[in-house]
């Protein structure tokens, strides 16, 4: 698949169809994969595809706004929903990009890998996809680990990889079918069933740990505002010190702004240095938006975002 990707990118560049291509490259170590921007044949050789390609590259497509030509982009089925949203929110034109879909059969959660194999990530030389298992190279030997032990949480509920019309794909885009032993919103429901005080204590504990590094904002595809509300001086919404009330405001405003736009790429939780379980917050938003407004982000291009519209017969039982 990697070779096919390189062929396609080389061909696109030879034709002059794209100015550069956004894909994945090896990072500082063999276990690390980073997003990269390649142009020219020698750079294209660096492109890789493996189960450690975790990033949501859709975020970077916004750079094509300032270009005259087009930008090529590699997306996994789940991340293609971000492009649907960006098009819907009129952030970029479809003509500006050449989108190549990659049939992904699950991504590895590095934290789970470390736990299952008992080795630090630095020792891992690489991970390959082998049907219903991952082949993990540690040192000289290869270990076969069943997928359900290593998969990222979101991969258990893989669906809709075809919500977007790709320019070309590296294979048939089919969702990974995994038998998850719990529902998609199980973690949210678990919290919902706790008494109010315990829930409050749980979130206060999490928010108190936040150092407000803004990593979750920077990595989020939907955070494209030129001036973020948190950076505004007048009015100033947020004080600088990362204290509990401010952290709470920060996370809640982010949740509000992502209502109906969060596509569950899980990037915020992945990059959080404090390991705050942010997906439990954003999953709740997805659940509510689906239940209250019957809406799912990143599916149709001609839908209207749920909180910028209304129905005459919306519920108002508590009002």
């Amino acid at each position: 698949m990697q070779d096919k990707l390189r062929d396609i990118v080389n061909k696109l560049q030879a034709e002059g169809a794209i100015e550069y291509f956004i894909g994945y490259c090896p990072g500082a170590g063999p276990h690390l994969v980073v997003p990269c921007f390649v142009a020219g044949e020698d750079e294209v050789e660096r492109l890789v595809w493996n189960p450690l390609c975790l990033h949501n590259l859709s975020k970077y497509i916004l750079q094509a706004r300032d270009l005259e030509g087009k930008v090529g982009l590699l997306v996994k089925g789940c991340d293609a929903r971000a492009i649907v949203e960006l098009l819907k929110q009129r952030q970029i034109e479809r003509e500006k990009m050449v989108v190549i879909g990659v049939p992904c059969q699950g991504q590895v959660d590095p934290a789970k890998l470390e736990k299952v194999l008992g080795v630090p990530m630095e020792k891992v030389k690489g991970v390959e996809d082998a049907g219903d298992a991952f082949l993990v190279s540690v040192g000289e030997e290869k270990q076969k680990v069943p997928k359900e032990q290593l998969l990222r949480e979101k991969c258990f509920y893989c669906k809709h990889p075809t919500s977007f019309e790709y320019d070309s794909t590296l294979g048939e885009m089919i969702p990974l079918s995994m038998d998850a032993d719990r529902g998609e919103f199980a973690l949210v429901e678990e919290l919902e069933q706790l008494p109010l005080e315990e829930r409050r204590a749980f979130w206060q504990k999490q928010f108190a740990r936040c150092i407000r590094c803004n990593a979750c904002r920077e990595v989020c595809y939907a955070c494209y505002c030129t001036e973020c509300i948190f950076d505004k001086k007048t009015p100033r919404w947020l004080d600088k010190p990362p204290l509990l009330p401010e952290n709470e405001i920060y996370h809640l405003i982010r949740v509000l702004h992502l209502a109906g736009r969060c596509i569950d790429c899980g990037e915020c939780e992945r990059v959080c240095p404090m390991r705050i379980p942010l997906s439990r917050l954003y999953k709740k938003v997805q659940k509510d938006v689906a239940e209250l407004f019957n809406y799912e982000a990143g599916m149709e291009l001609d839908e209207v975002l749920p909180l910028v519209t209304f129905e005459l017969d919306d519920q108002d039982s508590f009002m």
């Binding site: 949210v188 919290l191 919902e192 109010l196 005080e197 315990e198 829930r199 409050r200 204590a201 749980f202 979130w203 206060q204 509300i229 919404w237 009330p245 401010e246 709470e248 405001i249 809640l252 405003i253 949740v255 509000l256 209502a259 709740k284 938003v285 509510d288 938006v289 209250l292 407004f293 749920p306 909180l307 910028v308 519209t309 209304f310 129905e311 005459l312 919306d314 519920q315 108002d316 508590f318 009002m319």
Partner: protein, 143 residues
């Protein structure tokens, strides 16, 4: 807010409640309640907005996180909005925000949306009484 203010609310002390009232219905309703000399608790601080949809959910979150004990949004009845459809947006946001606040462990009584028309001075007084009582029964929002 000064730290000593945060110690109010709940356990018999006086809570602070922020009320956003729409200029065309709820604020006129509040005015009517005042002119009619209806008795009501003095815990509410009213901010007049041109439409209940002017109230960004961020206002509610900031108020609650900074230690206010409750936020009440008052608008025109659905269908009666001066700007035709502003309060329909308020209704959607309120619905969504309420679920979110509850999920984060904030008592749902602390955030309410109600419809009050310009002629409903008595209803305004009643809502203020009811909400104040409910919030008094809770402990302080951020002790």
């Amino acid at each position: 807010m000064a730290p000593e203010d945060n110690e109010r609310g709940g356990d018999g002390s006086e809570p602070k409640i922020l009320v956003f009232a729409c200029n065309w219905c709820a604020y006129a309703g509040a005015d009517l309640a005042g002119v009619s000399r209806l008795q009501m608790p003095s815990n509410c601080r009213v901010i007049r907005v041109m439409c209940s949809a002017r109230v960004k959910p961020e206002f509610v979150i900031t108020a609650l996180s900074k230690g206010l004990d409750g936020v009440l949004i008052l608008g025109c009845h659905p269908g009666d909005c001066h700007y035709s459809e502003g309060n329909y947006f308020t209704r959607r946001r309120g619905l969504f925000l309420r679920g979110l606040l509850e999920y984060l462990g904030i008592e749902p009584e602390r955030f309410q949306v109600k419809w009050v028309s310009a002629s409903e001075g008595a209803k305004f007084a009643e809502i203020v009484k009811e909400v104040t009582e409910k919030i008094k029964a809770l402990s302080a929002n951020r002790p």
